[in-house]
């Protein structure tokens, strides 16, 4: 098995394979954000920021920050040529209305039915759902990108989520540092393994029963 860093790099690169040029994509904060820098040669996405614009560009050079141009994480950003700004009603009309081709989000838990929990841990963290519930319901494809297990070793790919859900049965694909799992009506099909990882190793870190790719 690769070391942790290499596996995370594999994860980010693997997510970046999921798009075609022109796709409208919303990337969550954290691991998903890194996908923008890992796109294959020639693939250009139109990134959406739920606070109100399309055409999210790279972070600005020092000294060129515009306080009115921040991403959904509140960090300075830029808008690429061809981008456009709008209000929150339009932003979520785009999201809820199915005009976002894919969203990539992290998860606290995800399960074999495609349920997702990523917005609160009762009694511990209650940051709020922000735009996540709309994104997960509205985006045409929902891709979860995360470390396969929690820092304390706890399982995250479950038979049934135990934390409060972000949305019910909306996840299409789970990409972790161990492999790629597709949510199907039969359950989770393991489509791909990270380099040097075996089916049995992934299954050992997964509560849900994985189905072997045929």
């Amino acid at each position: 098995m690769l070391d942790k860093e290499a596996r995370m790099e594999w994860l980010v690169n693997r997510v970046a394979q999921e798009f075609k040029s022109g796709d409208v994509v919303n990337l969550g904060i954290g691991i998903p954000t890194k996908v923008a820098n890992a796109l294959p040669e020639g693939i250009k996405l139109i990134l959406q920021s739920e606070n109100g614009y399309l055409g999210v560009g790279p972070a600005p050079e020092t000294g060129k920050e515009d306080p009115d141009t921040v991403n959904a994480g509140g960090q300075y950003a830029t808008i690429l040529p061809g981008g456009c700004c709008f209000d929150s009603a339009m932003s979520f009309a785009i999201i809820r209305g199915g005009h976002v081709d894919a969203t990539v989000l992290g998860a606290l838990q995800v399960d074999e039915e495609g349920n997702l929990a990523n917005w609160m841990i009762p009694g511990k963290i209650v940051p709020g759902m922000g735009g996540a519930m709309d994104l997960v319901v509205g985006a045409r494809r929902v891709i979860v990108a995360m470390e396969h297990t929690a820092k304390n070793g706890g399982l995250k790919v479950l038979k049934k989520c135990t934390l409060p859900l972000t949305a019910s049965k909306q996840v299409n694909l789970i990409i972790t540092d161990m492999g790629v799992m597709e949510v199907t009506s039969k359950g989770l099909i393991l489509r791909e393994l990270a380099p040097g990882v075996s089916f049995e190793e992934v299954q050992a870190c997964t509560e849900a029963s994985l189905i072997r790719q045929e």
Partner: protein, 224 residues
């Protein structure tokens, strides 16, 4: 009719116990000087409707820190730890709402709609206590309109008829909140004469605006 007023005069419209809406997204597009004035004046028992409560230290966050707010309706509070603390301690009532739902609820109030049906929140705790509908095999929640007494907004430019223009991502909730309240106060960077903004450039029609407040240059002491 729109009036250009001082910060003090503007803030006299915000009183203890009111429900207020504040534009902005993690500080971007939030009317910092209006917010400073509200928190410095020590207004209390506000119900605050906003996307978030800012980043601890900024003008928005001070509404919470200075305990101006007794009830909060927001989508995200993770960038202001004090909000979470007050919530956990039972000092602040917090209702968390999905962002796309919050903006449609505000829009519904402004547009005279009795509510909207959204698929967001189905199968989650957001659906608790709400009416559900099924149409074409999809389940929806009925979400009701959400208005307020006063809105505190920020714009980049205004003419003296109150027409507003926003800049980049600072637009966010501002134009929607402008429609949904009894009284609108907008902090603007620049106030120009009537006729200097092209009709096609206007993002919020002046008829929604009551008070315009010219943003003041920062005092030298702030810079040093």
């Amino acid at each position: 009719m729109v009036q250009v007023v001082s910060l003090e005069e503007a803030i006299s419209k915000v009183q203890n116990g009111m429900t207020i809406m504040v534009g902005g997204f993690i500080g971007c597009g939030a009317p910092d000087q209006l917010l400073d004035a509200v928190s410095q004046k020590g207004i209390k028992e506000l119900t605050l409707i906003a996307n978030d409560t800012g980043i601890l230290g900024d003008a928005m966050s001070q509404l919470i820190v200075k305990r101006c707010v007794s009830k909060l309706i927001a989508t995200h509070i993770g960038t202001n730890k004090e909000t979470g603390r007050q919530m956990t301690e039972g000092e602040l009532e917090v209702k968390l709402v999905p962002q796309g739902t919050l903006v449609e609820q505000i829009r519904a109030a402004g547009a005279g709609l009795g509510g909207i049906l959204t698929p967001t929140g189905i199968g989650t705790i957001v659906e608790e206590g709400k009416q559900k509908f099924v149409a074409n095999g999809t389940e929806y929640l009925l979400e009701l309109p959400l208005g307020a007494n006063v809105a505190l907004l920020k714009a980049y430019k205004a003419d003296k008829a109150g027409n507003l223009v926003y800049h980049r991502a600072a637009r966010n909730f501002n134009p929607i909140m402008a429609m949904a309240v009894d009284f609108v106060i907008a902090q603007v960077d620049q106030i120009v004469e009537v006729g200097e903004i092209d009709p096609d450039e206007v993002m919020t029609p002046g008829i929604f605006i009551d008070y315009l407040v010219q943003k003041q240059p920062r005092e030298v002491s702030d810079v040093g």
